[in-house]
Symmetry: C2
DNA sequence: AATAAATTTGTAATGAATACAACATGATAA
DNA sequence: TTATCATGTTGTATTCATTACAAATTTATT
């Protein structure tokens, strides 16, 4: 998804977040980026254009965003958190070889039996791990 | 599941792991424990009975076990890894209030559409977050 | 018993994430 | 405009889970 700066601002305001320069830049980046970046990756990309950017700001901003569910926190990687600007229902597949995280569509969102009938469900995550086709080919 | 020491030994040998005293103790603990403990929790429980136990040993052993899939790694908690001796297919629900992790049955294991038809899938995880019934009651 | 191999231990190092105080920016009122 | 206050940003220090690694211990083998 590629929104204009103006659209991103409106989107943030809709969630009661002041659209500061940095916040707009970080959200725009996440919406255009498909590779589920880590804080480090986001920082290293954006610091090129915004030399004064601090890594703490990236952390603060992502926590702010995930708090109002406009970004998705992915904990499929055991050592560092990844982020996804696509908050629609979908699963994540992590290749254990090349570490790439792929999106995949899921048939239905209602996995659970009635074990959770009296639970309030706020968030659902589906994580797969294995080997992606590229790495399967390279093995041969 | 509550296996005898002898049964646990056989179970480990079946996976080509030498059943040392510590390994048997850690696996027995995980099989009897239903609360998806962290390394810290396992260590603090077992060090009571085995004063010479080192936390590094717990880490080493759990990595060994997860490598041969006799324990399940749960990364639903963002700061620390949890472990589950129950490797059957089931989902995990984490209460955002009391941090308890509940098990729940899932209807079917085949969530994915054919997006992943050429992927080799080794592991599937389903994580839910929300509020558990106990904490919902306490709010009132 | 002697030697080799595997296991365990404890400390040091790594690195992601947070705490926090100083600083900068933006909004509001006189 | 200028002063005042609130909000956002920065950078450094700290925390803490996890790993690296070498020494010490235990177990297996000749």
């Amino acid at each position: 998804m590629n929104l204009s700066t103006e659209e991103v601002k409106v989107y943030l305001l809709k969630h009661n977040i002041k659209p500061s320069y940095h916040r707009v830049a970080i959200l725009k980046h996440l919406l255009s980026e498909k590779n589920h970046p880590s804080v480090d990756k986001i920082y290293n990309e954006l610091v090129k254009e915004m030399p004064t950017l601090s890594k703490t700001t990236v952390y603060n901003t992502l926590n702010l965003f995930s708090g109002v569910s406009i970004v998705r926190v992915i904990t499929i990687e055991e050592n560092e958190t990844r982020y996804d600007g696509d908050v629609s229902d979908h699963g994540h597949f992590k290749c254990e070889k090349c570490k790439t995280i792929y999106d995949f569509q899921i048939k239905s969102v209602d996995f659970e039996t009635d074990d959770l009938s009296s639970f309030k469900i706020n968030e659902k995550s589906v994580y797969y791990k294995g080997i992606c086709p590229k790495c399967l080919d390279n093995k041969k």
